[in-house]
């Protein structure tokens, strides 16, 4: 945790994420009713409406803040479910190996290779519109990726001594998976969770942009849906789509930053290279640079 706090990427990413989580939790109390007709439509930002108004005369700031709540909560729920399913399928395939692994791997790879959006569209079109359907669709199309990374980790953990020891001791497979294998991939699961949340937010926004969500709800995706429907580009009302887009990008960027930082922390070579660069005051490391000579008493 100390290391995390001393990493600039982690700090920056964490700060953005905390800001948006706060915004999602308490933000809606401080802004106007996001659905209310509060002024003339398509007004540029002003003192009354800091981010202007939409084509329906709603406050853009209020909509952006309110959108955070639904988009983030769905993102987190889907992220969690995706990793849970991925962990279940991935460890089963990786731990048992043999035909179990063959079958599960094929299923994982088939889902992995199918382009997500058309499948999502077909599923979402048949399901009644709403956050539940969106979440279901995102989980169905997203689990395979985390199952894949968990599987390969489980495969390598299975060959470790402590697993062999547990097997010899007669532990049941379920217990070995729960006690020996899963705890040893915590960092992988955390980073898969962050990645899956990122995926879920982006995919949700995309689906709702297509009009496959509940268009009367206020989410980041429907904000963008209404912006195009109300001819934001034609009328030059950039303020109807820029704030939401920036919000989505900032959240996604912060998640990527946090994941990169976690990666760096778990990689001793990267850390020692950083120490090397700093100690020698170098600009870059390259295979083509000769070993430096720095005279220095012991």
């Amino acid at each position: 945790m100390d290391a995390l706090l001393s990493n600039r990427k982690a700090l920056f990413g964490g700060a953005i994420m905390v800001t948006f989580l706060l915004m999602a939790l308490v933000g809606p109390c401080f802004v106007q009713d996001p659905k209310g007709f509060v002024g003339l439509p398509l007004q540029p930002p002003s003192l009354d409406h800091w981010l202007g108004t939409t084509g329906q005369g709603q406050d853009v700031l209020a909509q952006t803040v309110a959108g955070a709540r639904s988009s983030l909560s769905i993102g987190l729920i889907v992220g969690f479910s995706v990793v849970a399913i991925g962990a279940l399928v991935g460890t089963t395939a990786g731990y048992f190996g043999g035909w179990v692994d063959d079958v599960l791997s094929t299923v994982i790879n088939v889902f992995l290779i199918m382009p997500g959006l058309p499948l999502m569209v077909v599923l979402a079109a048949y399901l009644p519109p709403g956050p539940g359907s969106i979440a279901l669709v995102l989980i169905l199309t997203g689990w395979s990726w985390s199952a894949r990374v968990v599987r390969s980790q489980a495969l390598s953990l299975r060959r470790k001594d402590f697993v062999a020891a547990a097997q010899v001791a007669g532990e049941r497979p379920l217990r070995i998976i729960a006690v020996e294998i899963l705890p040893n991939m915590t960092s992988l699961l955390v980073s898969a969770f962050i990645g899956a949340t990122n995926y879920a937010i982006a995919a949700q926004v995309g689906l709702e942009f297509l009009g496959l969500g509940e268009v009367s709800a206020v989410t980041w995706g429907t904000n963008l849906y209404w912006a195009t429907n109300d001819a934001a580009l034609l009328t030059g009302s950039w303020w109807t789509f820029v704030p939401t887009g920036l919000a989505v990008a900032l959240v996604s960027f912060s998640l990527v930053l946090i994941n990169t930082a976690l990666d760096e922390l778990g990689n001793p070579r990267l850390r020692s290279e950083r120490a090397f660069v700093q100690a020698l005051g170098l600009r870059a490391i390259s295979p083509d640079e000769p070993t430096p000579v720095v005279r220095r008493p012991s």
């Binding site: 290779i113 959006l117 048949y126 297509l210 580009l233």
Partner: protein
């Protein structure tokens, strides 16, 4: 050869799974969307055509298994039913007309983005921490954080609407006849620039980071150290020794990511009213044209599978260890 055959088997399984999925989705859904769908056709279609459509979906009399058989046969023959939106055109013909636009746009954009991204990754990794490495990856990660279609909107807004540098949509100027003329060709290119640029900007970062990471792993190998010790030129070590090896795993992840890229380019097409698969998909959603939706799902999925097969062949050819195996 064995490698390619094994992959081929996998793609056959994947194709069968997608086709089957498309069969079961309408049957598993709550409510009864299919009867709603056929009800919508009632006014438009004569009873014979309606029966054809039922057959295309496999909603014939008989057991589920028999229905599945009829459906599989139809898909194999490329009969995907009739579009509601474009009635009386068949789904296959509607999709076929739009397919070439998507293939050209997404194909060209993906190749450009993969090439540039890979090159960027090679250069960034070669001088880790250098100025290229400390500017390009963060910049493209930030760009990649925006939804594709939002980047498309922003580009279209600034370069199309405000600065009027590019056309606002469609694949070519309506006033030009689609024929093999220079005017038509340049119009097509002019219309494709912004959508392609969007896809390139949005996806390049991922290829670049991937390549950078595999490069760094490869650069730890002994053969790189030996190449440096041989006094080869840095360019040769970087390209023939490091990049050539790092490219292989990257080609695999290229295939894996294609589905994702295609999904993004579909949304991009929508913003630019580009008459490809994405635009059709939006139409299908808006008019609840289930046959068209289903057809699009199958077409896009099979296209991605086909592209992956090509990638695998390329991999097998690039890697001497599979080339001879």
């Amino acid at each position: 050869m064995k490698y390619v055959l094994r992959r081929l088997l996998f793609y056959v399984i994947a194709a069968w799974a997608s086709v089957t999925l498309a069969f079961f989705i309408p049957r598993m859904m709550p409510g009864d969307p299919t009867s709603t769908m056929f009800a919508r056709f009632k006014g438009k279609l004569d009873p014979a055509a309606l029966d054809d459509l039922r057959a295309a979906f496999g909603f014939t009399d008989g057991t589920l298994l028999e229905q599945y058989g009829v459906y599989l046969g139809n898909v194999l023959r490329g009969e995907l039913g009739i579009s509601i939106e474009y009635y009386p055109a068949t789904v296959s013909s509607v999709i076929g007309n739009a397919l070439v636009w998507t293939l050209v746009l997404a194909g060209v954009a993906v190749v450009i983005s993969f090439t540039l991204g890979t090159l960027g990754g090679v250069l960034a990794a070669w001088r880790r921490g250098g100025w290229l490495d400390s500017t390009l990856p963060p910049l493209f990660v930030l760009l990649g954080a925006f939804p594709y279609f939002w980047l498309a909107m922003a580009l279209l807004f600034v370069l199309g609407f405000q600065l009027e540098l590019f056309p606002l949509g469609h694949a070519y100027d309506d006033r030009i006849a689609p024929e093999a003329s220079w005017a038509f060709f340049s119009s097509v290119v002019g219309h494709a620039v912004l959508p392609a640029a969007t896809i390139v900007l949005a996806t390049m970062g991922a290829w670049m980071l991937d390549m950078r990471n595999t490069m760094i792993a490869v650069m730890g190998e002994d053969y790189i150290k030996l190449a440096v010790a041989k006094g080869l030129s840095p360019r040769r070590v970087m390209l023939r020794y490091a990049a050539r090896n790092a490219l292989l795993p990257n080609v695999t992840s290229f295939g894996m990511a294609l589905g994702f890229v295609v999904s993004g380019s579909i949304l991009t097409e929508i913003v630019f009213s580009y008459p490809g698969q994405g635009y059709l998909l939006l139409q299908a959603v808006q008019s609840q044209d289930y046959p068209l939706m289903q057809g699009l799902f199958l077409t896009i999925t099979l296209a991605v599978l086909g592209a992956n097969l090509l990638v695998d062949v390329a991999y097998a050819w690039l890697d001497p260890r599979t080339r001879q195996g």
